[in-house]
Amino acid sequence: MDAVWSGLALGAVYALVALGYHIVFVSSNAFNFAHAQLIMLGTFIVYWGSVTLKLPIGLVFLLAAAIVGGVAVLEERTAIRIVRGTEGQLVTTLGFATLLNGATQVIWGGSPLQVPFFGSSNVLVVLGGHVFPDDLILMGVAVVLTIGFVLVSRMTVLGIALLAVSEDREAALMRGINVRALGIGAFAVSGIVAGLLGPLIGPKTFAVATLGSDLALKGFVAMAIGGFGSAPGALIGGFAVGLIESEAGRYLGASYSNLMIFAVLLGVLLLRPTGLFGHARERMV
C-alpha cells in the first residue's frame, strides 16, 4: 500500500502538469512544452522565498504565483502570440523551456535543493499504507482542480467561449469572443496555478533543474493515456503514470520505471491513439 500511495502522489503531480497542458491547449490550441518548467520554476521560487528570504508561507505563495504567472505571460507574448503554426510554436516553447532549464541552473546550481513543507511532516497511516500529509493534499488538489475546470468549462459562459475557441478560432473571433484575451488569460492562469502548486510540489520533488524535462514527459504521457482534450482523462492518466512508475520501480528496479512508462506510451499510441477519454474528429477540407 505504501507504493500505491507514493505512486498516487507522484501521479497527482503528473496530473497537475497534464492539466496545465490541457488548459492552454483548449484555450489557445497551442502545446506549451514549457509548462513543466513553469512548475519547476515555482519550486525554485518557493525555495528562494522560504529558505533564502525566510518569508512567511502566505507571502511565499503570493511570490510564487506572481513570478510564475508573470513568466507564463511573458512566454505567451514571446513564444506563442507572434509565432504561426504548430511546428514553429513547438520550437519556440521548447526554446523557452530550455531557457528556463538553463536559467534555473545558472541561478541555483545543478544539485537538488530541499524545499521545506509548510505543514506537518508526520507520516500518517491511511488504509494500511504510510503517506505524508503533503501527498494527500496534492492528490486532493489535483482532483479538485480537475473537477473545478470541468465545471467551469461546462457551466459558465467562459467555458463555452473556450470550447468555441478550441473548435474554430476564427469563428469564435467573429462571434465577438476575445480570443487574444482568452489565450493570454489561459497562460496567466496556468502560470499562477503552477506557482501556487510550488509549495506543495517542491517538498515532494525537490527543486532541481532536471525536474522540468522529467515532469514534461510524464505529464505528456498522462495526457496521451487519458486522451488529448479531456481534463478527467488528464487526471486519470496522471495517476496511472504515477502508479506504473512506483510499481515498476518496486518490482523491477528503478531503471525500469521510465522504460515501462515508455512502453505504455507506445502501446497507447499504437492501439488507441485518442486515449481512454479522447475522441477523434473528422478531418475537414
Binding site: 511546428e87 514553429g88 521548447l94 528556463l100 532549464n101 496521451a224 525500469y256 506510451l265 499510441l269
Partner: protein, 605 residues
C-alpha cells in the same frame, strides 16, 4: 559572361568545398583542426537527419540524439570486440539506427505534431537507463572504453585516414540528401508539409511519407554515431543528453531546416562558436533556448534559407532560367474516363444529416455538375468520394471498383480533385507544383532518385515533358518558372486543374473552380472543362456560377438539405421551379430577369 554563369552547375561549389575540406590533412591541418572538422561533420549529419523530418516533412523529432547514441554504442561494442572494420561498423550502426527510427516513428507519427516530439524526446531521456541495463556491454555510467582503432580493408586507419573517411562519408551523405530533396520526392515532402490533405489528394500516403522522412533521417544519425565512437574511442552517456538534443535543434533552426547545406552552416556555428569555450559552458542551455526562441520567431528559414532567397533573387534578376520551347504536339490526348457512381449515400455529422440517400452517376465524356445552396452537402459529397470522411451508408464506385476510405488509395485509383481554396506549397515553381500531380500515378522509388539511375532520369524527363504539355493546355506555359504560391488566384486555380490533368485522372473533381475568377478567366476555364470532357474525361463540377454550369454541363444534379431535389440536362434545370426557389431564391418570372443580367450568384462557402 552571363550565359557562362548560367551553365555552371549548382553542385560545383559544394563539390569544390568538399574536396578542399577532405584534403585538409594534406594542406597542413594539424590534429586539433581535424578533430574540430570531424565534430562539425557529426553534428551536420545529425542536423541533416532532423531537417528531413522537421524541414521537409514538417514533423518535429528530437530523437536524433538517442539514435546517435545507438549508432555510437553499436560501433563501440563492435570496436571493443575486435570487429574494427569501419565499413562493417558503419553498416551495423546504420541498421541499428533505422530500427530505432522505425520503432519510435510508427507510434509517434500516428498522432503527429507533439506526439512525435514527445515520444522522440522521451527516447533521449531513456538513453542512460538503457545503457545502465546493458552495463556489461556498454560500461553503464562509467562509459565504454577499450574501443580499438578502426581499420579499412584489413589495415588500421591512420588519424589522417580516419579524417578522410569521416569527411568523405559526410560529403557522400550530403550528396544523397541533395539528390533526394531535389527529386520529385523532395517536392512530395513539401506538398506534405504544406497540406496533408493535398498530399493525399495526389496519392501520397501521408503516414508512409512521414515515416520515410523520419526513418531516412535516422541514417545520418547512425553514421555520425559511428564516426564519433571512433574519434575518441571512448563513449559516455553524458555525450547524448538533453543538451545535445537541443543543440541539434538549435543548429537546424539557425542554419535553416529546409535546406541541404543549412545543416553544415548550423553545425559550424555551434561547434566553432563561443558555446564550446568552458567559460560559456554553464550558459549553454540559456543560449540554446534563446537561439530556439529567436530562431523560431525571426529566422523561420534560417541562414541558408536567407542565402537561398538572395540567390534566387539574383538568379531571377540577372540569370533568368531558359524558357523551354513552346510545346508542340497533342495537348490533350484521349483520356480514358471512367464512370463514377454514387449509390444511396448517407452521411451525418452528429445529429446533422449532411447527405441522405444521394445517388448520382457521372459518365465519361460528360460534365456532371452538382449545384445547390451553401450547406447543401456538395463539398461533403466530394470529400466522401475522395475518402476524407467515412461513409455512413451506401456506396461510391469508380468504374466497377468500390472506393475505400484511404484518400491516397482513391487518388491512386485515378480520382483527382481541386480545392475551394487552392492549396499550393510554398517555395516551389509552377512547373514543380504541377509535376507533383504525377507523384503517385507514375511512381519512381527513393533509391533510383538518390543514385540518379536511368529509370529516375527517364521518369524525370517524362515529368518535365508532361508538365510542359498541361501547362500549355491551361495556358500557363509562360509562368513555368515563377514561384507558384505568388501567382494570382485565377492562375492558381488553373494550376490546380493542371496538377489534376497531368495525372490523367479517370475522374476529375472540380470544387468551385470559378469562384473569384474574372469573366475572361471563367471563359478560359469553361473552354478547358469542355476540352477535358470532349477528350473522354469524366468531370464532376461543383459550382455556384449558374451561368458557367448551364454553359458547360451535360447533366446537372441539384442538392438541397442533403438530398437530390432535381436532375437533368441544363435545359430542364434552367426552368425547374423547385430549383429556382431553392437555389436562386426567386419565383420563375424573376429568374428569367436574373439570368439575363450579368450579376451572378457568386458567393463562396
Amino acid at each position: 559572361m552571363l550565359s557562362v554563369a548560367r551553365r555552371i552547375p549548382t553542385w560545383l561549389l559544394p563539390l569544390i568545398a568538399a574536396v578542399i575540406v577532405i584534403a585538409f590533412p594534406y594542406l597542413g591541418a594539424q590534429s586539433p583542426v581535424q578533430r574540430q572538422v570531424i565534430l562539425i561533420c557529426s553534428l551536420a549529419l545529425l542536423v541533416s537527419g532532423l531537417n528531413l523530418s522537421l524541414g521537409y516533412a514538417g514533423e518535429l523529432a528530437l530523437g536524433q540524439a538517442a539514435i546517435y547514441a545507438c549508432g555510437a554504442y553499436m560501433t563501440g561494442y563492435l570496436g571493443s570486440h575486435g570487429y574494427t572494420d569501419i565499413v562493417l561498423q558503419l553498416a551495423c550502426a546504420i541498421a541499428a539506427a533505422l530500427v530505432i527510427g522505425l520503432v519510435t516513428g510508427i507510434p509517434g507519427l500516428r498522432l503527429g505534431g507533439w506526439a512525435l516530439a514527445m515520444v522522440s524526446f522521451f527516447l533521449v531521456l531513456l538513453v542512460p537507463d538503457i545503457l545502465q541495463l546493458f552495463a556489461n556491454q556498454t560500461g553503464g555510467a562509467q562509459g565504454l572504453t577499450g574501443i580499438a582503432s578502426p581499420s579499412l580493408l584489413g589495415k588500421t586507419l591512420t588519424p589522417n585516414g580516419f579524417y578522410v573517411f569521416a569527411t568523405t562519408v559526410t560529403a557522400l551523405w550530403l550528396l544523397v540528401l541533395r539528390n533526394l530533396v531535389t527529386s520529385r520526392h523532395g517536392t512530395a515532402f513539401r506538398v506534405l508539409r504544406e497540406n496533408p490533405v493535398l498530399a493525399s489528394s495526389v496519392g501520397i500516403s501521408v503516414f508512409r511519407m512521414k515515416l520515410s522522412a523520419y526513418a531516412i533521417g535516422a541514417v545520418p544519425a547512425g553514421i555520425a554515431g559511428c564516426i564519433f565512437a571512433n574519434l575518441d574511442q571512448y563513449l559516455s552517456p553524458d555525450s547524448f543528453g538533453f543538451a545535445l538534443a537541443v543543440s541539434i535543434l538549435a543548429a537546424s533552426v539557425l542554419g535553416g531546416s529546409a535546406s541541404i547545406y543549412g545543416a553544415v552552416v548550423g553545425a559550424v556555428i555551434l561547434t566553432l562558436g563561443p558555446l564550446e569555450s568552458t567559460s560559456f559552458q554553464q550558459y549553454s542551455l540559456v543560449v540554446y533556448g534563446l537561439l530556439l526562441l529567436v530562431g523560431g520567431i525571426v529566422l523561420s528559414i534560417g541562414i541558408a534559407g536567407v542565402l537561398q532567397r538572395v540567390w534566387a533573387r539574383v538568379q531571377r534578376r540577372w540569370l533568368p532560367p531558359a524558357r523551354s520551347a513552346p510545346y508542340e504536339g497533342d495537348l490533350l490526348p484521349r483520356t480514358a474516363g471512367t464512370a463514377l457512381s454514387v449509390d444511396h449515400l448517407v452521411k451525418s455529422f452528429g445529429g446533422v444529416n449532411a447527405l441522405q440517400d444521394v445517388s448520382l452517376v457521372a459518365q465519361p465524356g460528360q460534365v456532371t455538375a452538382l449545384i445547390g445552396p451553401n450547406g447543401s452537402g456538395k463539398t461533403t459529397l466530394l470529400n466522401l468520394i475522395c475518402g476524407y470522411y467515412r461513409i455512413d451508408g451506401g456506396t461510391i464506385s469508380v468504374g466497377k471498383e468500390q472506393t475505400t476510405h484511404r484518400p491516397y488509395r482513391i487518388a491512386r485509383s485515378g480520382v483527382a480533385r481541386t480545392f475551394q481554396t487552392p492549396s499550393i506549397p510554398r517555395e516551389i515553381t509552377v512547373a514543380e507544383a504541377v509535376r507533383a500531380g504525377r507523384y503517385a500515378t507514375q511512381r519512381a522509388g527513393f533509391v533510383p532518385a538518390v543514385l540518379r539511375l536511368p529509370s529516375y532520369r527517364r521518369a524525370r524527363a517524362s515529368d518535365v515533358e508532361e508538365a510542359r504539355r498541361v501547362l500549355a493546355l491551361v495556358g500557363l506555359a509562360d509562368q513555368e518558372n515563377e514561384i507558384a504560391a505568388s501567382m494570382p488566384l485565377g492562375t492558381r486555380r488553373l494550376l490546380e486543374v493542371a496538377r489534376c490533368v497531368i495525372a490523367r485522372p479517370k475522374v476529375l473533381l472540380l470544387d468551385e473552380p470559378a469562384s473569384g475568377l474574372d469573366e475572361n478567366e471563367v471563359e478560359r476555364l469553361a473552354g478547358l472543362i469542355r476540352k477535358i470532357s470532349d477528350s473522354g474525361g469524366t468531370v464532376v463540377l461543383v459550382e455556384h456560377n449558374f451561368r458557367l454550369v448551364l454553359s458547360v454541363a451535360d447533366q446537372i444534379y441539384v442538392l438541397a438539405r442533403g438530398q437530390i431535389i432535381a436532375e437533368g440536362p441544363p435545359s430542364v434545370i434552367e426552368v425547374h421551379p423547385e430549383v429556382l426557389t431553392e437555389y436562386l431564391g426567386v419565383r420563375v418570372p424573376e429568374a428569367d430577369d436574373l439570368l439575363r443580367t450579368p450579376s451572378e450568384v457568386a458567393d463562396n462557402d
